[in-house]
Symmetry: C2
Subunit: 317 residues, 2 copies
C-alpha cells in the first residue's frame, strides 16, 4: 500500500501521522514533546526524526512527507527561515535533512497555511475557490486560497496575515513592529490590554487580583460582566473588522474561516467584529454571497492540510 506522512510541528508538541494514499482517517499517529527537558543534546530536530521513524510503516511504501512548521519557510528549498517558538530553528534546512534521512520526497511549509489548505479541502471551506483562513490564538496566522490554489509567494513567505499595519500608532506586536493586526486582535493582544489596565491600577482590573489572566480567563470575565474584559474583546473585534475589510478589498473571497482558540470566545469577539466589518467595507458587494464561518477540523487541520497537499502533488505527478 502507498502511504503519506504528515507532520505538525508546534512549539510544545510534534505530531506525526501516517495516512493511506486515499481516505480521510490516519493509520497511526504519534505525539511527542518538541523539547526534551531532561536532555539538552536531544534537539527538536532529532526528536522529529525519531517521531517519524516511530510511525514509519514496516511493509508499506511512503510516497512523501509534508511537515508544517511554525514560522517562515522558504518552501522551494525546505529551509525554515525563522521559527520564533523553537530555539535554534533559524535557517534550518529541514527539508534536506528529512529527505536525506528517509530517502523520500519531503515538503516543508508554514503551519497556518497548511491548516488553511486542510480546512479548504476537508473542512469549512469545501466547495469554495477563494478562501481566507485566519487562526487567532497566541498570534494571528493564516492561509489564502485563490482560484483553488494556495497563495505561497515567490519564495514561500507570503500570507503573514497577522503582520499588516492597521494603525502605526498601535501597540507593539510579538514581531517587534507596531500596530499589526496581531497586536490588536490576538490572544496576546487581549491579555496585554488587561495587563496595561492592571499596571495602571484601573479599578475594574481588581477583578483579576493582580494576576495577568489568559485570553480564555478574560473571556470568562467578560461573560461575567467585567467591563475591562468586554472592552478587551471589543477592541480585538473592532480591529479584526478593519483587518478583514482590508483583506476583502484585496482578495474578494467567497469564504472567510476563523480558527484558533480565541475565536471560541464567540459573540464576545464576533459581535464587535461584525459591526466593524460593516462599517469599514467599501460596498455591500464584498459581503453578498460571502460565507464567514469557523474552522471545522480543530487541531487536525495542519495534519489534514499536509496530507491533502501531498495528495495533490502526487496526483499531478
Amino acid at each position: 500500500m502507498n502511504t503519506f506522512i504528515a507532520v505538525d510541528i508546534g512549539g510544545t508538541n510534534i505530531r506525526c501521522a501516517l495516512f493511506p494514499e486515499v481516505g480521510d482517517s490516519y493509520i497511526s499517529i504519534k505525539k511527542i514533546r518538541t523539547e526534551n527537558p531532561n536532555d539538552s543534546s536531544d534537539t527538536p530536530n532529532k526528536r522529529l526524526v525519531s517521531c517519524i521513524e516511530n510511525i514509519w510503516p514496516k511493509n508499506d511504501t511512503v510516497l512523501g512527507i509534508c511537515a508544517a512548521a511554525p514560522g517562515s519557510v522558504s518552501i522551494n528549498d525546505g529551509v525554515v527561515l525563522l521559527a520564533p517558538n523553537i530555539p535554534g530553528w533559524n535557517n534550518l534546512p529541514l527539508g534536506k535533512t528529512l529527505e536525506q534521512h528517509f530517502s523520500v520526497k519531503t515538503f516543508i511549509n508554514n503551519d497556518a497555511r497548511l491548516a488553511a489548505y486542510g480546512e479548504w479541502k476537508k473542512g469549512a471551506g469545501i466547495g469554495h475557490l477563494n478562501v481566507i483562513y485566519f487562526t487567532i490564538s497566541t498570534g494571528i496566522g493564516g492561509g489564502i486560497i485563490i482560484n483553488g490554489k494556495p497563495l505561497q509567494g515567490d519564495i514561500g513567505i507570503a500570507t503573514e496575515v497577522g503582520h499588516i499595519i492597521i494603525d502605526p500608532n498601535g501597540p507593539k506586536c510579538g514581531c517587534g513592529q507596531y500596530g499589526h493586526l496581531e497586536a490588536f486582535s490576538s490572544g496576546t493582544a487581549i491579555e496585554n490590554f488587561i495587563r496595561e489596565k492592571i499596571i495602571s491600577k484601573d479599578p475594574e482590573s481588581e477583578y483579576f487580583q493582580n494576576e495577568i489572566p489568559s485570553a480564555y480567563k478574560i473571556a470568562q470575565a467578560a461573560n461575567s460582566g467585567n467591563k475591562l474584559a468586554i472592552e478587551a474583546f471589543n477592541q480585538a473585534g473592532y480591529y479584526l473588522g478593519i483587518g478583514v475589510a482590508n483583506y476583502l478589498h484585496i482578495f474578494n473571497p467567497s469564504c472567510v474561516i476563523f480558527g484558533g482558540g480565541v475565536t471560541q470566545s464567540g459573540d464576545l469577539l464576533f459581535d464587535p467584529f461584525n459591526v466593524s466589518l460593516e462599517k469599514h467595507i467599501l460596498n455591500k458587494e464584498y459581503l453578498n454571497n460571502l460565507t464567514i464561518t469557523t474552522a471545522k477540523l480543530g487541531d487536525n487541520a495542519g495534519l489534514v492540510g499536509c496530507v491533502e497537499f501531498l495528495r495533490d502533488i502526487f496526483i499531478q505527478i
Copy 2:
C-alpha cells in the same frame, strides 16, 4: 486576418485600438472624449460604441473585445458596478451591451488590473511570476499577478489596493472611508495636505498664493525647497512604505511596479518610501531578490493589458 479590439475607458477620454492576433503594434487607434459637452443625450455608453465602430476592420475578423473600465467590475457578467468618474455608470451591463451590438465575445475588467497585466506581459514585469503593480495618480489602483495569473477575486472586485486602512485615524479617502493608503499617498492626498496648510494659514503655504496646487506643482515647489511641499511628499512616501510592506508580507512578490503620474516625482516620493519600507518590513527576506521599478508602458499599459488578456484567453480556447 484575425484581430482584437482593446478599449481603455477613462473619466476624460475613451481610447479604442485594433490589434493583430500577434504582434506588439496596433493597426489603428482612435481617441474620443468620454462625455460630449454639447449633447447631453450622447452618453458615454453611445460614444464608446461609436468609437469601436470607427476602428472596426472592414475585411478582417474581430475575435474579441476587451474593455478596461475605471471602477469596480463584476467580471463574470461584465457589469460595471460603480465607476465614480463616469456619471450614471452604476450597475451598467456593459459587457452584454457590447456583445449584443457587435456579436463578438466581450470582456470587461478593471483598468488598473489590466494595466498591471500589460506591464507584466510586455513592460516592467517581464520574466516575473509574482508581481504587484500600483498606479498612483488621482487615486491609487493596481493589479496583482500570482504565479502567472491575475488576482481577480470571486466576482472580480479584488485588488482594490488603495483601499486598505493603514491608520483608522487618518484623512478621509475619496471613497468616504478614513485612513486608506489612497488617503495618504495619492495625488489627491498630496494636494489635500497642502490645502489644509493653506486653510490653516501656515506661513510656508504663502508660496502657493492661496491657490490649491496640483500634485505636479507641489513636486515643483518641493524641488524649489518649499518645506510644506517636501513634507507632503514625505508623508505620502512614508505611508506608501507602510502599505507596500503590508503587501509584501501578504504576497511575497518578486517585483513591485509603480505607475501613474505621482511616481514621476521620483526621489521626492521614493526616498521617504524606501526608508519607511526598510523600517516596516518583517525581515530582509522580503527584500532580497525583490525588484522595485517604475512602469514602462505609460498610457498604453491598459490597451496592452486588454489585448494580452484577449490573446491569453483565445490561446486557451
